[in-house]
């Protein structure tokens, strides 16, 4: 007789292990299928439209004659939203995080954090409606020539929408700076402002940068608010007061219409989606890389 009992097969564990594997596998499989379909449909789109015309053409008119398949107006529309929302979300989000992490008392923090989370939980369609019914009339009080649907209004609400994410991620980055660093700075006669601006923020810079990249990525992919508020006019312009169309809004427009599947107009959906997907993928990879680098600095 041995001291230890013979090993026995544990059925429950084996089944659970398989179950968890299947769950993990499903998410991978979904990704692969999505990428596969995008790739197939996009390549069949490029059998009829040249890559150069698509990427560098300045007219987007896939549904009306004469047809044109240049994505730049949609890309430009998306970029207007990205730039506009970044102007709102990045500085305010960072400032909010600095306040939360460096200045706020526990009490203030306990009020502001949940409010930010509520802001993050508002459905995007509500933001879209808010843009049309509140932000656009507001803009019209200030500027002349504001079109009913305009990029600025959508950009502002997208900015407000990503603000909580920026604040929360920046707050994490600032809080991960060890307090010993703050004490070191105070010990050589620095004021709170100097400690924050010249030691803590620089030390958290890669985390802050990653937060910014994720925010931009989120703004690129944002759909509902821009569909409602920014219009449906593919328009290569730098004027945010004009109506534009983003890549996401175009996809919504065509998906909702009666475009027959299989036609060229239908395939434009996949071509646009591929561009959208590639951009957000690159942004997310970039953010991940930067995040990992900053995690290595303080361990």
């Amino acid at each position: 007789m041995t001291l230890l009992a013979a090993s026995k097969y544990r059925w429950g564990e084996a089944i659970l292990r398989q179950l968890f594997f299947v769950c993990a596998f499903i998410s991978v499989l979904t990704t692969v299928i999505v990428i596969g379909i995008l790739a197939v449909e996009t390549s069949s789109f490029f059998e009829e439209v040249s890559v150069t015309d698509f990427l560098f053409g300045t007219e987007w008119r896939p549904l009306l004659e004469p047809k044109a398949y240049g994505i730049l107006p949609l890309l430009g529309g998306t970029m207007l939203i990205v730039v506009g929302s970044s102007i709102v979300a990045l500085p305010v989000g960072l400032a909010c995080a600095v306040y939360l992490s460096e200045y706020a008392s526990d009490r203030a923090r306990n009020i502001i954090k949940p409010v930010l989370e509520v802001l993050a939980g508002i459905p995007t369609v509500v933001y879209g409606y808010f843009a049309i019914s509140f932000v656009t009339p507001g803009l019209r009080l200030v500027f002349d020539d504001v079109q009913i649907f305009n990029a600025a209004s959508a950009a502002i609400v997208v900015g407000v929408m990503v603000l909580p994410m920026v604040a929360s991620l920046c707050d994490d980055a600032l809080r991960s700076v060890p307090s010993s660093l703050r004490e070191g700075a105070y010990s050589v006669g620095a004021t709170s402002y100097e400690v924050t601006a010249r030691v803590v923020v620089p030390a958290a810079l890669s985390g802050i940068f990653a937060a910014f990249v994720l925010a931009v990525s989120r703004a690129i992919g944002e759909t509902m608010a821009v569909t409602l508020a920014a219009g449906a006019t593919p328009n290569l312009t730098l004027n945010p007061l004009e109506s534009i169309q983003t890549m996401t809004a175009y996809i919504v427009q065509v998906s909702l219409g009666d475009t027959p599947s299989g036609g060229l107009a239908y395939k434009t959906l996949f071509a646009v989606a591929s561009v959208l997907f590639t951009i957000t993928l690159v942004m997310n990879l970039l953010a991940n890389k930067v995040m990992r680098k900053y995690q290595e600095v303080y361990e």
């Binding site: 660093l181 010990s187 050589v188 006669g189 620095a190 004021t191 010249r198 620089p202």
Partner: protein
């Protein structure tokens, strides 16, 4: 208690509470000019809290309240009109773990004097501080390297240089060798003897050998109370209190 010398700092009836818990209780203690004063005692006895009250470092900890006075040459550091930033220009500090800024070696030392607009050539000031901290020879050719690439012992000497560059009157050291190996520790102890000529030093340590080697005066604390304070020789060889004797002879702690 100790023969009349120049007291730079004087704690009078200092009580420090974290919320309701008193970490330091009615401590009276004088810190003498150009001497090394060691504060020893078991973990949690309040020695670091007391040290941090000397440059108002406890200001950053929530729920800390303090009674009593800390006199710096007749000015109470906790008077309403006193700017804590100003206090720290006179009291430099070195921490338990090396905490250099994630900046270059040069900028670590130059930062404090620069933001405070201290006079004179900054390059000379940095060089002088690094020399005083016995680090110059090791880093003079790579001042622009990140301070985070230095070894732990070098980082701690860099933090000492950072404090010295401010030319404070007092240097407060909170277990500066606790994260270092014996060789680095020995170098820093040697350094303390050099620094004593120009600076008043207060060092908190849990290492009794270190206290007996480097200090002129030793304060022994236990549970927030100052049990005994006197010449280091006397505290270690002829302690007046039974509890001091028990502690320094290793019977507990």
């Amino acid at each position: 208690m100790i023969n009349s010398e120049n007291a730079v700092l004087e704690a009078r009836d200092v009580t420090i509470r974290y919320g309701g818990h008193a970490a330091v209780k009615n401590v009276n203690l004088s810190i003498y000019e150009k001497k090394i004063t060691a504060i020893i005692g078991p973990s949690g006895c309040g020695k670091s809290t007391l040290l941090r009250s000397l440059n108002r470092m406890n200001d950053f900890i929530d729920h800390v309240t303090q009674d009593g006075e800390i006199l710096y040459r007749d000015t109470n550091l906790y008077d309403e009109g006193v700017d804590p930033v100003e206090v720290r220009l006179h009291m430099g500090m070195v921490f338990q773990r090396p905490n250099p800024f994630p900046k270059s070696i040069f900028r670590n030392v130059a930062w404090g004097p620069t933001i405070n607009g201290l006079p004179g050539d900054i390059n000379l000031r940095v060089e002088r501080a690094l020399k005083q901290a016995a680090l110059w020879e090791e880093v003079k050719d790579r001042l622009d390297d990140s301070a985070l690439n230095l070894s732990g012992g070098q980082q701690q000497r860099l933090c000492i240089a950072r404090a010295l560059a401010m030319e404070p009157e007092v240097i407060l050291m909170d277990e500066p060798c606790s994260a270092l190996d014996p060789v680095s520790t020995a170098r820093i102890e040697d350094l303390l003897f050099e620094l004593k000529q120009n600076y008043t030093i207060v060092i908190v340590t849990h290492n009794m050998q270190q206290a007996s080697r480097v200090s002129d005066y030793t304060a022994f604390m236990e549970s927030g109370t100052l049990i005994e304070y006197g010449d280091t020789d006397q505290v270690f060889t002829r302690p007046k209190q039974k509890r001091t004797e028990d502690y320094v002879t290793g019977r507990f702690g």
